[in-house]
């Protein structure tokens, strides 16, 4: 197939399925909390709706940085789609993309001059300190599979069985990472409602819609990486089912947990990371 067409198609699928999954998660959360909840396509509709809303750029913002940072967030997730579903390249690159995403979050918050954004920016630094160790799960995958290449990891799993069963603690670590990136997560301190919308507070109108597109792609990509790296070669329907199941589990957890205070959230994530890394290495040695 034409490479460009392949990329375009994958980006579109990532955006479309990502936003439907986020909508589904909100629906499940609402039902658990005894509310009717928004329709499943609500997140998609919101994203499109923001593009035709009235927009203005705040006077206090650091231009053009304020706009460029939203574009950077989109660029890195397109890079993730190219590295992931399109070419099945390096897993280390996904790690790099994730850290740059944390930087994007941080700076979307601080570029506007709003105190809420600033608060979210300081919290993003804290949460980066906790989520980057969680991403160190990659080291354990490397220790087990001996490669950092996604297609080689898939090959390894088709011979030795899914990594989910051989390094379960690493899978849990990655799941905690997915959980902390989800909407309304107990670890979502950068977007806590006590600071309005966190780093997105000042990005309204079309920039919000733009940010939401990259959010949807990010959600799809994290689920894709989890399913690919821990469950091995999957068919298309299996991917879909896996993503729906993961979103449902995340929705259950988010519906029943309150958002943690920043210090507790960071300590909890770091503890998960520590137990995960140390435990996995001990398990590998036995």
């Amino acid at each position: 197939m034409n490479l460009m067409l392949n990329i375009l198609l994958n980006v579109f699928i990532a955006f479309f399925i990502g936003s439907i999954l986020i909508g589904l998660q909100r629906k499940i959360m609402a039902r658990i909390q005894g509310r009717p909840g928004p329709p499943v396509i609500q997140h998609l509709l919101h994203t499109l709706k923001f593009f035709i809303k009235e927009s203005a750029f705040p006077k206090t913002a650091a231009m053009p940085f304020y706009v460029a940072i939203t574009a950077m967030l989109f660029v890195i997730w397109v890079a993730a789609v190219i590295d992931g579903p399109v070419t099945e390249g390096s897993l280390l690159l996904i790690f790099a993309i994730y850290t740059i995403q944390k930087i994007g979050e941080h700076n979307a918050g601080s570029s506007s001059g709003s105190p809420y954004g600033k608060m979210s920016c300081v919290r993003a630094v804290y949460s980066a300190a906790a989520e980057v160790p969680l991403f160190a799960v990659l080291i354990i995958i490397y220790l087990k599979a001996g490669t950092m290449n996604i297609s080689s990891i898939i090959n390894y799993q088709s011979i030795h069985g899914p990594l989910l069963f051989t390094i379960p603690l690493a899978a849990i670590m990655f799941f905690v990472l997915i959980l902390s990136k989800s909407q309304y997560s107990p670890f979502a301190i950068t977007k806590g409602k006590d600071i309005v919308s966190g780093y997105e507070t000042e990005h309204f109108g079309l920039l919000r819609g733009y940010l939401m597109i990259s959010e949807s792609i990010a959600w799809y990509m994290l689920l894709w990486v989890f399913l690919t790296v821990f469950l091995g070669p999957l068919s298309l329907p299996a991917y879909l089912i896996g993503m729906v199941v993961l979103s449902a589990i995340v929705a259950f957890i988010n519906a029943v947990t309150p958002i943690l205070n920043p210090n507790h959230s960071v300590m909890m994530q770091v503890s998960f990371a520590f137990i995960g890394i140390a435990g996995s290495i001990v398990l590998l040695m036995i």
């Binding site: 034409n2 490479l3 460009m4 067409l5 990329i7 375009l8 980006v11 593009f51 035709i52 809303k53 009235e54 927009s55 203005a56 750029f57 705040p58 006077k59 706009v67 939203t70 574009a71 989109f74 660029v75 397109v78 890079a79 190219i82 709003s114 105190p115 809420y116 309005v196 507070t201 000042e202 309204f204 109108g205 079309l206 920039l207 819609g209 733009y210 597109i213």
Partner: protein, 71 residues
Amino acid sequence: MDKLKIISWVLFIVSIGSILFALIFNPASWIVYTIALVSIPVSVLSFGIVGMAKGNKDDEEGKRREPFIGY
């Protein structure tokens, strides 16, 4: 038509043009990657800026000055 609109029209046409170029002529893969990384986000952003609604002039100033306090 202000400066922002003109710039985004130009960016929009250039990015859509480069995507079409990659689609039709199928150049070397690294060129396609570069075009995909730059053009897809730029085209969406510039499309948004071209199509976004603008408030009337008097409200506009207030929104720009105190976005997180007023309205």
